[in-house]
Symmetry: C2
């Protein structure tokens, strides 16, 4: 039996955090919780997973200090304890973006040409919105939109997009955003818009990053 010295014990603690981030569905849970607090059931619905399974993943995240739980009547609401989990997620994502060829391959699947996938930066979007040059659409579900969105953005859940194409002019660029830098709904929205002849691009990241950058956020009344 190996004696574990303090160094190893410390590293084991760090590894607990990294391990908690090391499962695709826990990452998805973090992304959803970044939109706002949610009950176990709500999260299970969003991910399309059994409740017991989600409950266990949430407890793994809690043991890693990433989320906290608070009981509210029959429900238990989970939330991110602070931004540090998102920062860790973002830095992991950065490694994958820069060094895993597979990520490139997946993203490229959405677009014909490489320059088509160049996203709009936060600042660029803010400037162009001020000048009235763009239509901004938030492709998340209405409940997430209600918890906070880019001022002036229209809520067009991805499923509704085909039926609502006529709302947009082909002369104005449409910028789509959703939950985060790699939330695929905005990729799909842009791909759909383009296939119908609209000029469309993605915002480089999503709502939590917009909020974290100190940009104005509009909340439903």
């Amino acid at each position: 039996m190996s004696i574990r010295n303090p160094k190893q014990k410390l590293y084991e603690q760090f590894a607990i955090v990294a391990k908690a981030l090391g499962h695709p569905q826990r990452l998805e849970l973090i992304e959803h919780l970044a939109q706002g607090p949610r009950s176990v059931e709500a999260l299970a619905m969003k991910l399309g997973l059994p409740i017991a399974n989600v409950s266990q993943h949430l407890q793994t995240l809690r043991r890693a200090g990433l989320v906290s739980a608070e009981r509210d009547g029959k429900f238990v609401n989970y939330r991110l304890v602070d931004d540090s989990g998102l920062v860790a997620f973002a830095s992991v994502r950065t490694v994958a973006e820069h060094h895993l060829a597979e990520v490139d391959r997946i993203v490229r699947g959405y677009f014909e040409a490489r320059d088509d996938m160049e996203p709009v930066t936060r600042q660029e979007l803010a400037d162009r919105m001020r000048d009235g040059l763009v239509t901004v659409i938030d492709v998340r579900p209405p409940d997430e939109f209600a918890l906070g969105h880019v001022p002036g953005a229209i809520n067009v859940p991805l499923g509704d997009l085909p039926a609502r194409l006529s709302e947009f002019g082909k002369d104005r660029e449409v910028v789509a955003y959703c939950r985060g830098p790699w939330c695929v709904m905005s990729f799909e929205a842009v791909a759909a818009l383009r296939s119908h002849g609209y000029a469309a691009r993605r915002l480089a990241d999503g709502m939590p990053e917009w909020r974290a950058a100190g940009m104005p956020v509009e909340v439903a009344a």
Copy 2:
């Protein structure tokens, strides 16, 4: 059989990176590689692990895009591909520091009073060194010291410390640093120095962070 959509595929890629960070000994490997490139054997020696085991861990890190390998004669030298892996490690560490009680407990084990463990910041150390107020010791092994150290620091490997206590004056504060923010050698050095009546503190982080901050680095001739 589940069909994996692009969203899930993306998250699986991110999870590969996080999973690679999710093992204590792989984190230790990263910390060592942050000092400079190393062969498999050299790393195995430093960690005290079988070579085949280290080789496999390194390949996990390579598949995650964190390290790269280059053959040099009989040896294969591994190195961090860039700083992004260290950034990810640092952000994972931040979560653990802030939210895992166990980390606090381990660190506290080295010190009697809480304020005794307050570390010296990089800038504070630079200022006080300029004024000639402190003795700086680098407690890493000589080979790591040779690859780059704080200018003016004395190399006192942890094992040699007891025999070399007389080199320091009890009127000058001694600042110890090693491989990174949680490299326990500096904790142990400070604890040892204090138990012999010296005024000692730790640098808040280690060599890689000092270098990354653009501070001057001295390399052995």
